[in-house]
């Protein structure tokens, strides 16, 4: 890969939950800890993991909704957070946009759909008057909504249609990179397929690059070119999609894949499931060593004391002591 479109280097994000009398942090949720990966132009990187693993925090930090505790996010080699703090903030925001999880909470109920989609045009001074109107109608058309929808309010739409409005808004400023934070998890099965197909069509048409955050491994497999698996704030494994699903190396990825139910009773009957015991530990007080060792069926002494680093085997990256054992 020559220069990637987006590169995340050693990213950490801690949320302070308690402070001492003088304001020094006493306890912090380590939502993301030392995460590094790159996304090439035009590809989709799937970011998958369970509730609380930090995947949404990664997406939100990339687009600049959170400032990182440590590490950098580079967009075309340029530090996003330095740019956001400086005078170029708008230029970065235009190119890096986000689609949110909840189509019910992410649209302003008091604005018409036309104004919601037009807001990025106003903020970035991209169009005004008749041209603004034309751009809005064109954007609605791109996402499969009709011109008369522009004057309606979000409550008049179904979940799938609202998500289309969210996508049109993200496209309005002409971005190169879209962070999609569980864009379909709030939708019904038949509507999920509509939205995923739309995202794929738009990617092809505009050459967009996606970071696709989801907990549904089947959907991640369908949409991604490469997949990154997160567990409790760290990356467990990153690999091209075919490789990850055919030869998962990390015990967590293996368990995750075996836990996905397949809609075919014949296949389901013959499957052997790896059932992980216990729950995900609290990120407030994560276990020492490998964060997965408390639930890992293969854990040995070294896992309890030393955290494995993400090591590359070709284009397959994995953080696990078993590989070198």
């Amino acid at each position: 890969m020559n220069q990637p479109l987006l590169e995340v280097r050693g990213l950490s994000k801690f949320f302070v939950t308690a402070r001492s009398l003088l304001g020094a942090p006493r306890a912090a949720v380590k939502a993301v800890e030392n995460v590094s990966f790159a996304v090439a132009a035009g590809e989709t990187l799937g970011l998958v993991g369970e509730t609380g693993c930090g995947k949404s925090t990664v997406a939100r930090t990339i687009v600049g909704l959170y400032a990182p505790t440590a590490g950098q996010v580079l967009f075309r080699g340029e530090d996003v957070h330095a740019a956001l703090a400086g005078s170029d903030a708008a230029a970065v925001r235009r190119r890096v946009q986000m689609i949110f999880q909840d189509p019910y909470a992410s649209l302003n109920p008091r604005m018409t759909v036309g104004d919601i989609v037009g807001e990025p045009l106003d903020i970035h001074g991209l169009a005004a008057g008749g041209e603004r109107r034309d751009r809005i109608l064109h954007l609605l058309d791109q996402v499969g909504l009709s011109p008369e929808h522009a004057s309606r309010f979000p409550h008049e739409f179904s979940g799938g249609q609202r998500q289309r409005v969210g996508i049109a808004r993200a496209l309005a400023a002409g971005p190169e990179f879209l962070a999609c934070d569980e864009p379909i998890s709030a939708l019904d099965v038949s509507i999920q397929a509509q939205v995923v197909n739309l995202l794929q069509d738009l990617q092809e048409k505009f050459g967009l690059t996606y970071l696709f955050v989801a907990h549904d491994l089947s959907m991640i497999k369908h949409i991604s070119r490469r997949v990154a698996v997160m567990y409790l704030g760290t990356l467990a494994e990153v690999a091209p999609v075919g490789e990850l699903y055919a030869r998962p190396l990390h015990p967590y990825t293996q368990a995750l894949l075996s836990a996905i139910p397949i809609p075919d009773p014949a296949v389901e009957q013959g499957r052997r499931r790896i059932i992980l015991g216990g729950d995900v530990p609290s990120p407030l007080n994560p276990p020492a060593g490998c964060k997965f060792h408390t639930r890992c069926p293969h854990a040995f002494d070294r896992c309890r004391s030393e955290a494995p680093a993400l090591a590359a085997y070709g284009d397959h990256h994995v953080a696990c002591h078993l590989i070198t054992k």
């Binding site: 509509q194 809609p263 009773p265 995900v280």
Partner: protein, 338 residues
């Protein structure tokens, strides 16, 4: 053999300012002892309302059972008064709700909520209640159950809370367990644990289970018989293997093709265009026709549930014996996107 539960022509309406919502329309099915039945469908298809009516939990007003019977042990649940329903709920028939975060009382300890299941139905002393409660928590796989009894729901994780809900539902050793999306709010690795637990309960205690879900994968792994619901009606009913290999209703076919599968490669998902209909004024004729790619003139008239194969019914004219192109076996493969 006499079924354990039989639902006959159940219809449930909700009166709203906008009009009468016909949430469940003429639903019939039976549940045999020890059987696991799945009810599948999308939001608003009436699956949860059907489940709630089995326990007389339809809020009235605005809801009402407009017609039909629900026979359990020869008694009609629809006609039961509140006192009889209280005896039934949590005793012979119990329910696990979808959201473990909001179904438990946050200001009562796990022990007192669990103990209430026993004291509501029989006279027991405190010590027996505590012992039985701990035993139940152990049954559902909660480590250190005695310590957990003194804790509040917020001290437990989502998976643990769902286990507590299951333990409460199992307290009186019910004959039927209704599970309304029991794993939807949980992560996949926890979901696998809960499904495993339900399978075990069914095989070891012989509890009949009705599983309500939108996840075709979960249903495939757990259920023996499946009902597919759309717009308040049962559109297809079949044994699980039949349904997944030879779906007869275009909606079932569409659902199966619109989800990506872990074990297959699909370049494009076959989405079902459009939206489910408004249940205040459900379309005359087949409710699915406006979204159906096989729709034809005949679909302007509502199709009945047609038994195409013994034990396999479909609410679609294509399954009718007079239909020129019998669907059986054919279009399932033909419709698979390249």
């Amino acid at each position: 053999m006499q079924p354990l539960l039989s639902v006959e022509n159940l219809s449930v309406n909700f009166r709203t300012y906008a009009g009468t919502v016909r949430a469940v329309r003429d639903v019939s099915f039976t549940l045999a002892a020890g059987e696991i039945l799945g009810i599948v469908g999308e939001s608003g298809c009436g699956k949860s309302v059907t489940a709630s009516s089995l326990l007389g939990l339809i809020p009235s007003p605005p809801g009402e059972v407009a017609s039909g019977r629900i026979l359990f042990d020869g008694q009609d649940i629809v006609k039961m008064d509140e006192a009889a329903l209280r005896k039934l709920r949590g005793n012979a028939v119990s329910m696990i709700f979808q959201d473990p975060m909001t179904s438990l009382n946050p200001v009562l300890t796990v022990g007192s909520q669990l103990g209430e299941c026993f004291t509501a139905h029989q006279r027991l002393d405190g010590r027996t209640v505590r012992e039985r409660s701990a035993e139940l928590l152990r049954l559902v796989g909660i480590p250190a159950p005695e310590a957990r009894l003194g804790q509040y729901p917020h001290q437990l994780s989502g998976g643990m809370r769902q286990r507590v809900m299951i333990a409460m539902a199992l307290a009186m050793n019910p004959r039927i367990l209704i599970a309304d999306e029991p794993t939807t709010a949980l992560d996949v690795t926890i979901q696998a644990q809960i499904i495993d637990l339900m399978k075990k309960l069914n095989s070891e205690l012989g509890t009949s289970i009705i599983l309500i879900s939108h996840d075709l994968g979960v249903v495939a792994g757990l259920c023996e018989k499946v009902l597919v619901m759309y717009a308040g009606q049962v559109v297809e009913a079949a044994p699980v293997a039949e349904l997944y290999t030879r779906p007869l209703h275009p909606y079932t076919l569409g659902l199966l093709h619109s989800v990506p599968r872990l074990d297959a490669v699909r370049t494009r998902l076959a989405s079902i265009d459009g939206q489910p209909p408004d249940l205040i004024a459900p379309p005359a004729g087949c409710a699915f026709a406006p979204r159906c790619r096989f729709a034809m003139v005949a679909c302007r008239e509502a199709p009945p549930l047609i038994a195409a194969v013994p034990g396999h019914q479909s609410r679609c004219w294509l399954a009718h014996p007079d239909c020129p192109q019998p669907l059986a076996g054919g279009p399932a493969k033909e419709a698979e996107p390249a």
